[in-house]
């Protein structure tokens, strides 16, 4: 099965590569969004990175090395799980793409293994990264340990407090965790600190950015490293839906959106098929597409929550991983073009969904994909009878401490 899946996925990847979710144009543009709005110091490094990525991505040796790591180290392919109990309760067929079962507990490892291999190939000896919930930080620390590289992770002071388990994991893996103490002291500020670090260390340091964010080539490169989610899911859905199904594809694909990397990964497997609805789910308090307007920060033009003067707003979400006022530029483009739609859910709906999946399916989701779940629960009537695929981007172990406080003795 695994080899068969792999071959089919490769075949599909070739089809998709030329499609809607394809290469950016001009200076990293997806429609009008994207670009390279960074201090001059970093521009040559970004040009170098773009060239190195193109070269590596076209090199079968690199691809094979990455595929081997993804299989033997991260545990790919991740399964597709049909959720019969919850599906019956909601009135539609529910499938989860189980990125929560990857090594380190989320989809983040796909991107990090790719970037760390690339960093090695470029001769860099040190990784810096930002992290929100800590999943990208843990994945980066893991790759650094595996590949014998120095690793420093910036994390907002607020997030350090609410995700202390992941902070300990990073330190256990040998990484240094430095608090970001300015601004909102969350993911946005951790990105600022990582960029500031890189401005000073660019000659030997590789910035391992954790989402489809930032200056070109990151939004494109990170999506390519997560494309594996979508290509696997496309093949798995075909098998799961059976030979009788007319297309072998789900009706709706749903993913949570912070920066948007897990969504970009799974959307890439379906964007070429207009009959598949793509839905990104943002937190109400961090809805760049829902509540933002175009702006420029962290090297990119995209939708951004900001005030009337252009000062960036502080996002407010129960989920540290989605607590970000911007969004990846490709999502801004998918929203404007109408190919994907973006919805918002509240913290309260997320808390409900978090418990619901735990009880009905024995899967404790991370708070981030619980947003996607919360939306399908709310929309159960309009989804009735459909095949719905959710990207279960991470597991909830990291959130248990926080949820113990939220739920208290109500359980």
């Amino acid at each position: 099965m695994n080899n068969d899946l792999k071959n089919q996925a490769d075949e599909l990847a070739q089809v998709f590569a030329s499609d809607m979710v394809g290469a950016p144009t001009g200076v990293g543009r997806f429609g009008e969004f994207g670009g390279m709005f960074v201090p001059e110091t970093l521009v040559p490094a970004l040009h170098e990175l773009e060239a190195a990525f193109k070269d590596a991505w076209a090199d079968p040796v690199f691809r094979n090395e990455l595929d081997t790591l993804l299989a033997d180290y991260a545990g790919r392919p991740s399964p597709l799980t049909r959720c019969d109990r919850l599906g019956e309760q909601l009135g539609f067929q529910l499938y989860l793409k189980r990125e929560d079962l990857n090594h380190t507990g989320s989809h983040k490892i796909n991107n990090v293994l790719g970037q760390a291999l690339l960093a090695k190939r470029m001769g860099k000896t040190r990784l810096v990264a930002e992290t929100g919930a800590g999943q990208h930080g843990v994945a980066t620390a893991t790759a650094a340990a595996l590949m014998d590289m120095e690793c420093l992770v910036y994390m907002g002071e607020v997030d350090i407090a609410r995700q202390e388990l992941n902070v300990f994991r990073m330190r256990l893996l040998g990484a240094e965790v430095t608090p970001a103490v300015s601004g909102s002291r969350t993911l946005k500020d951790a990105v600022n600190e990582a960029m500031r670090d890189w401005v000073g260390t660019v000659e030997h340091t590789y910035y391992c950015l954790g989402s489809v964010l930032g200056p070109h080539p990151y939004p494109w490169m990170v999506r390519e490293f997560h494309r594996v989610i979508g290509t696997e899911a496309a093949v798995q859905c075909r098998v799961a839906l059976g030979a009788d199904h007319p297309t072998g594809r789900p009706d709706v694909v749903v993913a949570c959106i912070g920066g948007g990397s897990n969504a970009a990964g799974i959307f890439s497997g379906f964007a070429a098929f207009p009959e598949v609805d793509l839905v990104g789910v943002e937190p109400e308090g961090g809805a760049a597409i829902g509540h933002g307007i175009p702006g420029i920060v962290h090297g990119m033009k995209s939708y951004l929550m900001q005030d009337e003067f252009g000062q960036v707003s502080e996002a407010q979400s129960i989920s540290a991983g989605l607590d970000y006022p911007g969004v990846g530029p490709e999502h801004a483009h998918l929203a404007d073009s109408g190919r994907a739609k973006y919805e918002q859910v509240t913290d309260a709906e997320v808390i409900e969904a978090f418990q619901l999946l735990s009880r009905t399916e024995g899967i404790i989701p991370a708070l981030e994909p619980a947003h996607a779940l919360a939306w399908v629960v709310r929309e159960k009537e309009s989804l009735a009878g459909k095949n719905v695929l959710i990207n279960m981007s991470g597991r909830g172990d990291k959130d248990v401490g926080q949820m113990m406080e939220v739920l208290g003795d109500t359980l």
Binding site: V38, L42, V43, P44, I296, V312
Partner: protein, 262 residues
């Protein structure tokens, strides 16, 4: 272009240079309590031009000192139109440039911002997160309004790119003196003179080194090659700590003195 055609900021720097002197451009964060008085004091202490920062919530090119001053100014209610308005009411006899991040300008509207700069008597803009690749739209608006765009050149910039940067640049060339963000440093980075020298070989524009110029001695040292310096964090730290225009002016005066001694 004859000297009389030059916009005020560049004209002031070129006048200093042609008289055999070195240019001094202090940076001050706009919108801090009492900032207009601080500008007046610094102008009278020997500045050839003043770079006024319009504070942004996410200043990625700035170190802790300018981050702090930006946060203080924002907390005090600083806004781009408020600062431009304040500048339009000042008459300090020294030309002005604004330094800010591209989102504030984009949000304001490129044309409207350029026009507001002209109305405020500001002739140059420095946007550190707007490299050559992204400068087109702003530069069109700025050129049309009669505002010069100061481009940054970094130690990492390759030669071929350096030529394209100075071609697009106006007012002066901002040579980033080191690999890193703004902030005080104990000694002058070796990269400072190197980038200044590389720029001097490809442009007649004044070449001013900024980022990491913290003392009068460092300023004099880099000006063995460069046409002048931009001094930010070292001044802003004193602004925030002392809130005294007199002591800040005295500090700026010590740079003037060191540059005049050569």
């Amino acid at each position: 272009m004859s000297a009389s055609d030059l916009l005020p900021f560049q004209a002031s720097l070129e006048a200093r240079r042609s008289s055999g002197g070195k240019c001094l451009v202090p940076y001050l964060t706009g919108g801090l309590p009492g900032w207009e008085l601080m500008l007046e004091a610094v102008a009278s202490a020997g500045a050839d031009g003043i770079e006024v920062g319009i504070p942004f919530s996410d200043p990625v090119m700035d170190g802790p000192i300018i981050q702090e001053s930006s946060e203080l100014a924002l907390a005090a209610g600083a806004t781009p139109p408020g600062i431009l308005d304040g500048l339009s009411r000042l008459d300090i006899g020294v030309p002005l440039a604004v330094m800010t991040y591209v989102n504030l300008v984009y949000r304001f509207g490129y044309e409207r911002f350029a026009d507001s700069m002209v109305k405020a008597g500001v002739s140059a803009a420095i946007l550190p997160d707007m490299p050559l690749e992204e400068a087109g739209d702003w530069c069109s608006a700025a050129d049309a309004a009669g505002v010069q765009t100061v481009m940054l050149a970094a130690p990492t910039t390759p030669d071929e790119r350096l030529s394209r940067i100075v071609e697009r640049c106006g007012g002066f060339v901002y040579a980033v003196g080191l690999l890193g963000i703004t902030g005080e440093r104990d000694s002058l980075a070796a990269s400072a003179k190197v980038i200044a020298k590389r720029l001097k070989e490809v442009t007649d524009l004044p070449v001013l080194v900024g980022v990491g110029i913290s003392t009068p001695e460092q300023a004099a040292e880099v000006c063995e090659v460069a046409d002048g310096v931009v001094v930010g964090s070292a001044i802003v730290r004193r602004v925030v700590e002392t809130r005294s225009p007199e002591s800040v002016a005295e500090f700026v005066g010590s740079f003037r003195e060191a540059l005049d001694k050569g």
